[in-house]
């Protein structure tokens, strides 16, 4: 390869690495609280593991201590649905919920410091209800009251500085912070005097002065209301307050939807007012399946127990043409379907134009409510944020000292050649970090330790090569030949030793778990980078040096 190509390759890789490592703002579609929104997030090059940033790792498994659970695989899928639902309400920035193996769910909640609360929320059994949407315009009738209470709450909370929109979901106790955020600004100047003339009209907007009147718009069906995404955090914080719930007429409740609706470029969240008494609860359901019906498209069929069927028949015959919300853990799942006729033990929900995926999802919701999966905590690891910051700080100090010591020893022993090796080492650090960033690797504490250690080991390739060059010089070879021969002879040893270490690391990655895997990734990235910098980069630097000396090289500082 021509020298200029070599230099070009190294610089191009270095530029790429730097580009990958610069934090920047990226647009990303994020699914939060059931809606996907475009958010601008600050993308950091390497994500910190929970042990470095603080947070909580929970592994849940099916609790079989009170009887075995049939069909474990479906049980885990049901549980996963429920856990996802709840974690979304948690409001943490990047939660992870995933199936691990066949019978375990792993949940990672960065920044959560209260293990007990998290555990309670995750372990609670799922609760499914069918509830009729409100036909009495209860919300509109209560608007003046709601606005007044909202204003009053704002007064109580005071006028501290606005918070930055704490996401609070339904069913989650909200902090007062969210409320101050709501009223710290210029809102609610006048007393809320929503009037009856703001009521039922064909327009979406409900007139009025208070926060509720301003933000809430009438939806497509009775009891359905649209809240623009911009107002969601504020309204959600309010709706979670008992005072607001009590302002509704008796036996009516607020429930949020897990879904969202884009209308003319604005994303709306659906808020429902439902009859508080459920028609039936999940216990009445025995099974639910998605199906493709030739005439009706995608449907979800469900069956009820005999007793549940009797109740449901009575309920449905009283509510024909009404809308029935399917509520899992106080969250309305999808748009409520309309009841076409009396249903006893067998019914079906027509999904219209929605695809099979949506039907599978709804069937899963019904089964999750029908057969709640008892979960137990198999593992909890929780690290405080200060401890994480402390670990990073100490790790960095150790890293800097390690680098300094290696630099000194290489410079003293190999002098000019040692300097070349250090240039290689600098690129090694750059490339390794970029590779880790490219693999979306998560930096854990053992990973950090492995990286520091690898700085010591990374110079091994150069040590091997330099010792070889020295041997060749001893045999009276010219500088140019000695360098060539040195690299050539050192190569098999470098390759064999690195490949075998890489294989060990791969085994670690495959069979290890959690922090150990993070460690293995660091190791693999480090080995790959050190082979490239130790061999290719340092060789190129030598070639560059030889070229500048124009062939008249008698000695080399090594």
């Amino acid at each position: 390869m021509k020298l200029s190509y070599r230099i070009g390759l190294i610089l191009a890789l270095a530029a790429l690495a730097v580009w990958m490592l610069v934090p920047r703002n990226v647009h990303e579609r994020q699914l939060r609280n059931g809606i996907s929104r475009d958010t601008i997030i600050r993308r950091v090059p390497i994500k910190k593991g929970l042990d470095l940033q603080g947070g909580m790792h929970v592994a849940l498994e099916v609790d079989e201590s009170k009887g075995t659970v049939a069909n474990k695989s479906d049980a885990i899928d049901r549980a996963l649905k429920v856990v996802r639902n709840r974690v979304d309400q948690f409001g943490v920035s990047e939660p992870v919920v995933q199936k691990a193996g066949n019978d375990r769910i792993v949940v990672e909640l960065p920044g959560i410091d209260d293990p007990d609360r998290a555990r309670d929320l995750l372990q609670k059994s799922a609760y499914l209800e069918f509830q009729i949407t409100d036909k009495t315009d209860a919300l509109v009738r209560s608007l003046p009251k709601l606005d007044a209470i909202a204003k009053q709450l704002a007064g109580v909370v005071g006028t501290t500085k606005p918070a930055d929109g704490v996401a609070a979901g339904p069913g989650v106790t909200t902090s007062d912070k969210a409320l101050t955020g709501l009223f710290g600004g210029d809102t609610a100047k006048k007393s809320a005097t929503a009037t009856k003339d703001s009521a039922p009209s064909d327009t979406l907007a409900l007139a009025g002065q208070g926060i509720f009147s301003r933000s809430i718009q009438r939806g497509d069906m009775p009891g359905e209301y649209y809240v623009p995404q911009s107002a969601y955090d504020q309204i959600a914080a309010l709706v979670a307050r008992p005072e607001i719930q009590q302002a509704l007429p008796p036996r009516k409740v607020f429930r949020w939807s897990n879904d969202s609706l884009p209308i003319q470029g604005t994303t709306y969240r659906m808020l429902y007012v439902l009859d508080a008494d459920p028609m039936i609860t999940g216990e009445a359901i025995t099974d639910a399946k998605p199906q493709q019906d030739p005439t009706e498209g995608t449907v979800v069929t469900f069956t009820l127990s005999n007793e549940g069927g009797r109740v449901f028949k009575r309920q449905t015959s009283a509510h024909i043409k009404d809308y029935m919300a399917i509520v899992l853990d106080q969250l309305v799942m999808g748009r409520p379907p309309v009841i076409q006729g009396a249903i006893s033990t067998r019914g079906q929900i027509t999904m219209g134009r929605r695809d099979l995926q949506a039907a599978q999802d709804l069937a899963l919701v019904l089964r999750a409510g029908a057969l709640p999966v008892p979960l137990k905590v198999a593992e909890v690891r929780q690290v405080g944020a200060t401890m994480g910051a402390d670990s990073i700080h100490k790790g960095l100090i150790a890293g800097i000292i390690a680098v300094a010591l290696v630099v000194i020893i290489m410079l003293v022993y190999y002098r000019f050649s040692g300097f070349l090796a250090i240039v290689g080492l600098a690129l090694y650090v750059l490339y390794t970090l970029a590779t880790l960033s490219g693999f979306d690797a998560v930096l854990t504490l053992p990973g950090l330790a492995g990286f520091v250690l690898s700085i010591g080991i990374a110079v091994d390739a150069n040590v091997l090569i330099f010792e070889r060059i020295r041997e060749e010089l001893d045999r009276g070879k010219t500088v140019r030949t000695a360098i060539d021969e040195g690299f050539r002879h050192a190569m098999p040893a470098i390759i064999d030793s690195n490949v075998s270490t890489m294989l060990t690391a791969a085994v670690l990655y495959q069979w290890g778990s959690g922090p150990v895997r993070g460690f293995a990734v660091t190791l693999i990235a480090g080995i790959a980078a050190s082979m490239f910098t130790g061999i290719f980069v340092v060789r190129t630097l030598y070639l560059l040096w030889l070229q500048r000396k124009q062939g008249a090289v008698q000695t080399v500082s090594i």
Partner: protein, 340 residues
């Protein structure tokens, strides 16, 4: 140029018997203790609960223990962790582990509440909680054993392909030796076998293997030159020729490890200790385990009658070899050429 250990001619292999005795005594002492008391697994593997606490004022350790025991947690282990204000409390006894079944948090909460009663609410903060159920623990233990077994197998196959089976066997036996000595070291240092320590052990294996391969690579190269000399001499020469490299690499690695040991904090310290020991045992085994084993295999299954010999008969054989060299000496063993 500055040079250390340049052009040395130490007869390393000559001391193999002494080396075997030293390492055997160490391993037997460590493993004997292991056999009696068992491996000191961390809660990663046994299941259990660990809480790391930071107190505002240095507390009395006995008070912590008494408070935790008073709450019904059996045999809690209270340990100072770094400064005199930081402590870890662990509950590992089987009753607690089985109690995990109904919610692994319960023991942690129990301990926390007991300490709050004893010291007050604001006297300490919980910095870290780990609670592992028994099943997760046993799975991890199996996973670690599998990882180790497979890494041996993979090494064996790779070296068999790149060198020859006898090199693979010698390298794997040297590596297995490192596992044993490291376990003995852990026992003697009263270190716990945690997931992080397993990672450190596997790093040690990789490092030791590296070292063995560097020496074997020299042997492979020297054998190709078809010098008429016993493998004993080839091995010694290879060790001497790679000595400057060994010293340099061990030095840089050791310094990085030392930085970790001294500055990276308490959580990573067991990892650093294992690495410190690993550098020593890895270097030792590359010379005194891999070498003699290779010679032993050579004698047991010789490629040529007089090419290998154990040091016991070494002097004689060497002399013999030198005498016969001038005459119709059998060609020195040649390693099957490998793909380059």
């Amino acid at each position: 140029m500055l040079r250390i250990f340049h052009d040395t001619r130490y007869d390393f292999i000559r001391w193999w018997k002494t080396a075997v005795v030293i390492t055997a005594v160490f391993v037997i002492a460590g493993l004997g203790s292991l056999a009696i008391k068992g491996i000191n697994y961390s809660i990663d593997f046994t299941g259990g609960t660990l809480i790391q606490l930071q107190f505002k004022q240095p507390p009395n350790v006995a008070d912590i223990r008494a408070a935790v025991e008073g709450s019904g947690v059996k045999n809690p282990e209270v340990q100072q962790f770094g400064s005199d204000r930081e402590f870890t409390v662990r509950a590992q006894d089987l009753r607690d582990v089985s109690a995990q079944g109904s919610g692994a948090e319960s023991v942690a909460t129990q301990i926390k509440n007991a300490l709050t009663r004893q010291f007050g609410d604001s006297a300490f903060t919980v910095k870290r909680t780990e609670a592992v159920g028994p099943r997760v623990g046993s799975e991890l233990r199996r996973g670690a054993a599998i990882a180790l077994g497979i890494s041996f197998l993979v090494t064996l196959v790779y070296l068999a392909i790149r060198f020859e089976w006898r090199f693979g066997v010698a390298a794997v036996i040297a590596t297995a030796h490192d596992v044993l000595t490291t376990l003995a070291f852990l026992k003697l240092m009263h270190l716990e076998v945690s997931l992080t320590v397993i990672a450190a052990i596997l790093t040690v294996l990789g490092y030791s293997l590296n070292d063995t391969i560097i020496i074997f690579d020299r042997v492979r190269e020297d054998l190709k030159k078809k010098r008429n000399e016993p493998l004993y001499d080839t091995l010694n020469r290879a060790i001497n020729e790679t000595l400057p490299r060994s010293v340099m690499t061990h030095a840089t690695t050791f310094l990085a490890t030392l930085a970790l040991l001294l500055f990276a904090g308490e959580v990573i310290r067991p990892f650093a200790w294992v690495m410190v020991f690993g550098i020593v045992t890895g270097t030792f085994s590359s010379i005194y385990v891999a070498g003699p084993v290779l010679l032993w295999i050579e004698r047991k299954w010789p490629r040529h009658a007089s090419t290998a010999s154990l040091p016991s008969a070494a002097a004689d054989r060497q002399r013999q070899a030198r005498e016969t060299r001038g005459r119709a000496a059998p060609a020195a063993a040649s390693v099957t050429p490998t793909k380059r």
